[in-house]
């Protein structure tokens, strides 16, 4: 699997995801600077976490207009897998590759903790490493992770099996206590309709080796390698 990681000036998880991809694939992904518009031919494009252009406006709003994102959108439309993590998820919604928006957390504070998730749909290159309904734990670290979409959009998302991961309690129940940021329908990770694009707030690259104290993110990367190699 060949992968590229998009690097905005304020990206700060670009190195982390690059290391995790290297561990999974055995070779370094291409790092693509935000002002570049020629993206190498790859199987997977990752839009990493961070603060893209500072995010003083709306998280990801400026990044979605950058030259490299025009190319990412074009590739996504032609079927290249695109993975957006945290700020990457925000950028993918701003770029309209994914429906809805990510608002300020319901608690209004930045939140860094490990959360419980349920795998809602294992039928994709991104989630093939998990089983449907599997309970996993992944770290989140964000200020704007409160997923919002209007009722019609939410219905479409649910009808089309577009929810990849949902926030749950340790027992797997969906309720307010298991939802760290107030996301509609407890959405933590979302596919596009073709399940070729995934945006998620949790950070699989921070739970990818034993020293992290948690390897629940590793199947996501390994599953991608398996599916796209």
């Amino acid at each position: 699997m060949k992968a590229a990681v998009i690097v905005f000036p304020g990206s700060n998880c670009d190195r982390d995801v690059s290391v995790a991809l290297e561990h999974a694939t055995g070779h370094k992904p291409a790092m693509v600077w935000h002002r570049d518009s020629d993206l190498p031919q790859v199987d997977l494009i990752v839009v990493p976490g961070g603060f893209s252009y500072g995010d003083y406006l709306r998280s990801g709003a400026m990044a979605a207009q950058s030259p490299v994102m025009r190319e990412v959108v074009a590739r996504a439309k032609s079927g290249t897998r695109v993975l957006g993590i945290c700020n990457g998820f925000q950028i993918l919604t701003e770029a309209k590759l994914l429906p809805g928006a990510l608002m300020r957390n319901a608690g209004l504070k930045f939140l860094c903790r490990t959360v419980d998730l349920r795998v809602e749909n294992a039928d994709s290159a991104f989630t093939a490493g998990y089983a449907k309904d599997q309970l996993i734990r992944l770290p989140v670290a964000h200020h704007d992770g409160n997923y919002f979409a209007d009722a019609d959009t939410l219905a479409r998302i649910e009808d089309n099996g577009m929810v990849a991961f949902r926030y749950v309690t340790p027992d797997g129940a969906i309720d307010a206590s298991g939802n760290p940021n107030g996301s509609a329908n407890a959405v933590a990770g979302l596919f596009n309709e073709g399940r070729t694009v995934l945006g998620l707030m949790p950070h699989p690259e921070r739970a990818a080796e034993p020293l992290h104290g948690n390897t629940d993110g590793k199947p996501l990367l390994d599953g991608l390698v398996e599916a796209l190699s």
Partner: protein, 742 residues
């Protein structure tokens, strides 16, 4: 030479100088150096360079008493940060610095720019910052300003650190009424560099270009250093405009751009613009190089119009650096800063005159000899009086008022020991994907990227000990830092200190400073734990009321293998719990005495540094040999609190025996030093190793169940403890619905 006319500048008089913080004696000293009446710009430069904040004029004679050398020390105090060798051609670079006054006036920006400033001190030297820590002291939880201050400071630290992408991995937070009008915000950064790629600030090479990079200069933060050098009064709110405004996104760009430039061979010297901005950076670079610097202030990137030379030189606008480049490297450097969309301007040259010359609009506004500005800065041997010793309080004066577990429940859910989760969940502790352990343990553990090694980092101080007995308190702060690093299995290497005290012109306060230094020096020497960097913050007083003396210690140690790191959580049921170190039951200055008996009194626990070292060396060996399954140092709250913390972290209970012959309150809640709790599957092996090392060890009990049981009958559920432990801070922050019981 003299300055040419500056018709727009005010005339300098002793009265004007006094307004800018110079005493009459200091004014005269300035005239002796200049041999003429200085210009207004020059007065501003003297004023900040000779401020307490920049000159260390009250503390310098004492700081010299601290040990600063060890074979692994590459660079001690005097540069932007301390540098230690961590093997394999790598160095850890770190420092802690205060931003107390700004954070009280404007908590979000004050704390945020505190983080920004300390980050720059570290990456200036060529290091990529890999971890942030902090040491925070707030006033009483029920003081009307406390919630606002906590909320702003925590959001500011998070807002800055999270965006720049440096994990905030730990720290400490205390409450005490002495901080009601003067909180402490001490921020620490640890960075990683190659030992052959460390950058210093001494200018060199006559004719070399002096380059300004980063953000534009505005009128913010003018005279911040001077503000930090005076006491607070009721009208300190008016000083809000002296607080700088931070932009973490620009800082992130600056880090990347500087590190990219540092990978080339273009840099001769580099210095961040921190306190006193362009003034202190240019003066320090020239002074350290024994050279002069001439600057054309018209070339300084400015974001406001009509700025005067005085304003440009005194501005503390954030995210700016000054660099001396090798000749002919301007284009290479500019291309890097263009890529990162940061300002880049050649603003001057290195000269052989030894003078700081500032020109603007074709006029000379400053022409000062640099050497005397630094070397002849005032140094005061302030009068001091030792702190009177406090009596020992026998444990029998403070008997348990009820079951020990009820006392535990109150302590663990009270201001000093309640969980700080509400705070640290606002910090991204994992960015970098090298965090092995963050808040919640004895020390943070961060892997050295690309290796199996890890750095352990901690911040510690027990101000109430320092107040009661500065010598013991100073030694204890260093010893506790050393112990916390040891408790995760690390070899302690060096410390940075952040000395927060009241008004040094009061002999009683100066006595606290002198005592703490004495205690710290003794501990640093015995534990071979030198000071490599530090910061002094004096005048932490409001309306004449000083804070508790607070020498915050930031300690750094190394683990050869990150996977060896010990943690506090009980791992399994049925394991032996062993107490390492001697317990006599010292209750003076304990949290138990204060929270349960309402007495903040007595002598603090003695610090036996030889025992500290012996016990710690044993524990570290046990951890490295995987002979123990968990480890926790004993500090605030004593033995039972430590057991409870291990139980809550592992969600496993324990049965604890009460030994005969010791007072129960003293045994369970006394704060004797040099102690650790460990768990082991093979207790006999641990006991034997302790015997061989002549270290006291006591088999305390066994892990298991869902309750903590003391002496066979007195039990409390671990979940119940956890609920109390987690509830306190969120309740306080939610508006005092559930105010502390104490």
């Amino acid at each position: 030479m003299t300055t040419t006319h500056q018709s727009k500048e005010p005339a300098v008089t002793p009265e004007l100088a006094a307004e800018y913080g110079l005493s009459l004696e200091e004014y005269q000293r300035m005239l002796d150096i200049t041999q003429r009446t200085p210009s207004f710009t020059e007065l501003g430069i003297f004023s900040v360079m000779w401020s307490e904040h920049c000159s260390y004029k009250s503390s310098r004679v004492w700081l010299k008493k601290l040990p600063t050398k060890a074979p692994h020390v590459i660079c001690g105090p005097g540069e932007n940060a301390g540098v230690i060798d961590i093997g394999d051609g790598q160095a850890a670079i770190f420092k802690m610095e205060s931003h107390n006054h700004p954070s009280f006036i404007e908590p979000y920006q004050g704390a945020a720019t505190g983080v920004g400033g300390i980050l720059r001190d570290v990456f200036t030297m060529g290091a990529r910052p890999i971890a942030n820590m902090n040491a925070l002291r707030f006033g009483s939880p029920d003081h009307p300003k406390t919630r606002h201050l906590i909320s702003g400071v925590v959001a500011g630290i998070g807002g800055y650190g999270n965006c720049v992408g440096v994990p905030t991995v730990g720290g400490e937070t205390n409450f005490h009424p002495s901080y009601n009008g003067n909180i402490l915000v001490n921020a620490m950064t640890v960075g990683l560099a190659d030992t052959d790629k460390i950058f210093y600030s001494a200018a060199a090479g006559v004719g070399n270009p002096v380059v300004y990079v980063g953000s534009k200069t505005g009128r913010d933060g003018i005279h911040g250093a001077t503000m930090a050098s005076t006491e607070f009064t009721e009208d300190s709110e008016e000083k809000r405009p002296t607080v700088q405004v931070g932009d973490p996104f620009t800082e992130k760009l600056l880090i990347e751009a500087c590190l990219e430039l540092m990978a080339t061979d273009a840099i001769v010297a580099i210095q961040d613009m921190g306190a006193a901005g362009l003034t202190s950076s240019s003066v320090e670079m020239a002074d350290k190089g024994g050279l002069g610097i001439e600057l054309d202030l018209d070339a300084v990137p400015q974001r406001e119009t009509g700025m005067s030379p005085y304003e440009i030189m005194l501005s503390e606008s954030q995210e700016r650096m000054l660099i001396v480049l090798k000749p002919g490297r301007e284009d290479l450097a500019k291309a890097i800063f263009d890529k990162w969309e940061l300002d880049f301007a050649v603003i001057g040259r290195v000269t052989d005159t030894g003078r700081l010359v500032l020109k603007m609009h074709g006029e000379t506004y400053c022409d000062l000899e640099v050497g005397p500005l630094v070397d002849r800065a005032p140094v005061y041997e302030r009068p001091w009086e030792p702190t009177p010793p406090q009596a020992d309080i026998p444990a029998s004066e403070a008997p348990l008022p009820g079951p020990a577990t009820e006392v535990l429940h109150r302590l663990i859910g009270g201001p000093d020991l309640a969980s700080r989760r509400w705070i640290w969940e606002q910090y991204d502790s994992q960015v970098g994907a090298d965090t092995v352990a963050a808040s919640g343990g004895d020390a943070a553990v961060v892997r050295v990227h690309g290796t199996n090694k890890a750095l352990a980092i901690t911040t510690d101080c027990t101000p109430r000990y320092c107040f009661a007995d500065p010598v013991r308190g100073g030694a204890q702060a260093v010893a506790e830092a050393w112990r916390n690093l040891t408790a995760v299995g690390a070899t302690p290497l060096a410390i940075t200190d952040n000395m927060n005290f009241g008004n040094p012109q009061k002999p009683r306060i100066m006595g606290q400073f002198a005592g703490c230094i004495q205690g710290m020096a003794e501990a640093c020497t015995t534990l071979e734990f030198p000071v490599v960097s530090g910061n002094v913050s004096l005048y932490n007083e409001t309306n004449g009321e000083g804070i508790l003396p607070t020498p915050a210690i930031g300690g750094v140690g190394i683990l050869p293998d990150a996977s060896l790191a010990a943690s506090v959580a009980f791992k399994a049921a049925g394991e032996a719990i062993l107490l390492i170190g001697d317990t006599v039951g010292h209750v003076g200055q304990s949290l138990y005495l204060r929270e349960i008996h309402g007495r903040e009194a007595g002598s603090p626990p003695p610090v036996d540094l030889a025992a500290e070292r012996r016990n710690g060396d044993l524990v570290r060996g046990l951890i490295r040999d995987r002979a123990v399954t968990a480890c926790h140092d004993l500090s605030d709250g004593g033995l039972l609190v430590a057991v409870a913390e291990m139980a809550m972290a592992g969600r496993i209970g324990a049965d604890i025996d009460l030994p005969a012959g010791l007072d129960a309150a003293g045994f369970l809640f006394g704060e004797d030093q040099a102690r650790y709790l460990v768990t082991a599957t093979d207790a006999d092996a641990v006991i034997e190793r302790a015997r061989v090392a002549s270290v006291p060890v006591l088999r305390l009990g066994t892990t298991g169940g869902t309750s903590l049981t003391v002496g066979g009958t007195d039990a409390i559920s671990v979940d119940g403890l956890r609920t109390a432990h987690e509830a306190w801070l969120p309740a306080v922050m939610a508006g005092g619905a559930d105010q502390p019981t104490s």
